[in-house]
Amino acid sequence: MIRRLAILLVLAGMLGLLAWQLQLETRLSVFFLGRSDPGSRMVERFQHTVFARRYLLAIEPEAGTAADLPGFSRRFIAAMEDLPGVSSVWPAFQPPFSIPDLMAGYAAFAPLIYSLNPQDEAADLFAIESLDERARGLKKALLSPFGDLVQRVAPKDPLLLTFHAFSDWRDLFGKMATRVEDFYPIVLEARYPPFDIERQRDLQQRIRQTFSRLNQGQDGTYQLRMTGVPVFAVSAQQRVKKDVSRVTIASGLGVTGVLLVLFRSWQVLPAIGLVLAFACTIGALATQWVFGNLHALTLALGATLIGVCVDYPIHLLAHCRGELPPAEVAGRLWPALSLGAITTVIGYLALAATGYPGFQQTAVFASAGIVTALLTTLYGVPMWLDGPVVGGTPSLRIFVSCQQWLVTHKRLMQVALGLALGGALLLLPRLQWLDDLERLAGFDARLQQQDTELRKRLGGIEPGRAVLVEAPDLETALQRGEEATRVLRRLKENGALSAFHPIYPWLVSLQLQRENWGHYTQHVTNEFVGAWHEALNRSGLSVDSLGLTVPGELPGSWMDTETILNSQVKEVLPGQVEQHPRKTHLAIWLGPHDPQAVAASLSDQLGVRYYSQREQINALAIAYRRRALLALGVGVGVILALLLIRYRSPARSFKVLLPGMSGLVFVFACFAILSQPVSFFHLIAAMLAVAICVDYGIFYSERRAGDAVDTYRAMGASMFTTVVAFSALGLANNPALKALSLAVTGGVVIGFLLCPVVLPGDRAAESGPGP
């Protein structure tokens, strides 16, 4: 009793430590994409700017158009202003900062910023023969209902060069003017960080409740659609949480049920539960310590560990029938159990070798868990048990019958296996690869489609796609950004790009300012000034207010980019400028575009590159697949090497490995027949199945504590629990977890069934170490 209390105290201490230290991560991108490359890091940082706290809401009539849509939307906006957690809310076409105010502030710097290509454009911009037309245009603009900005710009910039500088942005602002009878876009900025899931979820509920309340008064005329980083974050967390709870509950209940059916005894449950509790706790602690957090999906995958770790105590308990004390039984079993554990750990380490962030966590979790399960089985369980285990022998007679039938028809089955293997191998070249990581990650397709639709209607940027600029300092970065902007303008003219958010002319490099000023002073001569004044007179415009002076050699001052960066301009460029002590990053967001054309056009630009999260992700998936194939090969090779060391017989080692490898081939042949695309998840699952099946091969081959029937029965119990645990993964909505479930369960069942067919029934016939 004291020993049991001590064991329970140790377990309780570890659980307490875990509860204290655990930081659960639920972001799908962290598990599936990681954060290694600079583009991903920049996109991730962007996701933490104020921009990421913004929701994009769209109110639309349920059908057709509605004349009162603007009125209803404004009432909705007014109601949301008072909601807790709302920082500000505004119609998307009416931002909280005044673009005209900001642009008017640039008028004084117009001679420094007017052109991105002054060498090519200055001659046209300052053509004396065009001055009459420009003066007439100026007058018309002053008198138009849109003349306010011209009135503010013209006294400082009579030639209206500022508007030429902002031509890229003028197009963007123009896109905001669309029909309002069928679509009213609203931007809502939350007070909370985008990944403060609990509070963001509450806020989303409040928004929906407010909308429903108002919409009821309109007989449900309108519908509300919502997108934004917080919407995705909340959705992802809910999906992951559902998957985790579904998998862990199903796995736990399933394995418990199987154990009760197999052993027909409650006595075994605490001993097995002890092993699993230690394995999962140590696995979670090790992951937390290594990575600083534990992803919820790791926990879901870790739940399958139950099905693997449970093999060790099952094997021990199956042999504790009273002839020997449990400690002695454990002593006899440890070589086989240890080899089995090592091969399984190799399987999981192969996961880590792919470099895939989620699997790295899972590998640490599983490796620590398996080693803990082994040690607890060998030392903890014997301490826990007082004597022989009642009902210790698994009862499933089906395994006995199965084993006997397979042994009886061994020759026939071997021939059948050979033929089937040959056929399956021929099918393998037909395998199709799935390298779309977004599909595998199971991002909410409905939300993604909604996001695309809403942003398309607003003519906004494509999330996750940008031109990234890197330079040692801001000046160099701006120069490189300007060069990239020239390329993007050409692409826009060619139709390969619909819109983009350049840094120019909000920030302009000193080099370009000098260039602009140089051309300005060359063209704005006495003759030019005189011609301009005459043009003003002919149009009835005031020379006193709109006249020019001949510029001196140097401007009054250069435009100071650092000062501008600290002004309200940063609201216009959210997440687009990032400065570090020795590095500056710029991002130019892109509207709908042709990725290949953009990437190709920028390929020779120094410090500039096209970044597409989707292409990056898919390239990553291909890399993961190649690494997974390599890991599979290396993993199988290492396992074979260990078997060779253990058995000193290539034939026996090969036979131990054959059931698992056959399972792998048959599972993949099935995928090929069914035209089911295969991802690196399937490869990794196959690796796990091989590692688990090698355990069966070892157990069946060595049979250290009983005859072939008893061993096969114990193996059947292990297989049963493993299959139940991995089947539970199939209940998850996440496609990657489903893939793992299918491949592992298929491989394990086939591998188990093939052991009596491939491995000898008479141990004496085998060479190498015996029991």
């Binding site: 603007p70 404004r74 009416q94 007058k139 002053l142 008198l143 138009s144 849109f146 013209a154 009835g540």
Partner: protein, 203 residues
């Protein structure tokens, strides 16, 4: 455009008989058409600018300013949109309402006036309405001149509603004076509002 809106709204207020509660005067019961002459004095112009054409409005709140001289321009204000179309150059603008553009803030004021909704107007303007003999006058003085688009809005006309003069002084001192004469009403309008709106919208 704000001054256009105000002009039209005040114009039709002037058409109706003065009442102790001016709100009722803004409810148009039928479309109307006015001839106008506008003189604008801007600091950036060396001499005042003159334009002329027709102002049209209907009870739904749509207003059209059809400028015929010096060139043809259509400006439309609806509760949700502001349209501009210069037929000589083909230049076209369209903005949603509300907007932060100062000129369009006048449209918001105009819609409130048209609806006879004086509550929000009184929140921003002091309203002075006087009838004297056969004439009336109205003044809107902003409570916060710093944020109001107009420093002063005044209008006067005859009680029969045939002639009105609107004067608007903007924040920067620019001034416009518009003289209007009732031209037609009901089904006797020579221009079709819906067609002008379509033309301005380019539909």
């Amino acid at each position: 455009m704000g001054r256009i809106g105000l002009l039209i709204c005040l114009l039709f207020w002037g058409i109706r008989l003065p009442a102790s509660d001016p709100a009722g005067r803004f409810k148009l019961s039928e479309p109307v058409q006015m001839r106008y002459q506008e003189t604008r004095t801007l600091a950036l112009l060396s001499e005042p600018w003159k334009g002329s054409g027709y102002l049209l409005a209907d009870p739904s709140g749509t207003m059209v300013k059809l400028q015929l001289s010096p060139q043809r321009v259509i400006m439309v204000a609806t509760p949700t949109r502001l349209l501009y179309f210069d037929s000589s150059s083909g230049e076209r603008h369209r903005i949603r309402l509300p907007t932060s553009m100062p000129q369009a803030e006048g449209i918001v004021l105009l819609r409130q006036l048209l609806q006879g909704n004086f509550q929000p107007i009184r929140g921003h303007y002091h309203i002075e309405y006087v009838e004297e003999g056969k004439n009336w006058s109205l003044q809107l003085l902003p409570k916060d001149p710093e944020s109001a688009p107009f420093r002063k809005v005044s209008m006067h006309g005859d009680l029969e509603g045939n002639r009105q003069v609107l004067e608007i002084v903007e924040r920067d001192g620019d001034r416009s004076v518009t003289r209007m004469v009732l031209d037609a009403r009901g089904d006797k309008l020579t221009y079709t509002i819906a067609r002008l709106v379509q033309e301005a919208a380019g539909e």
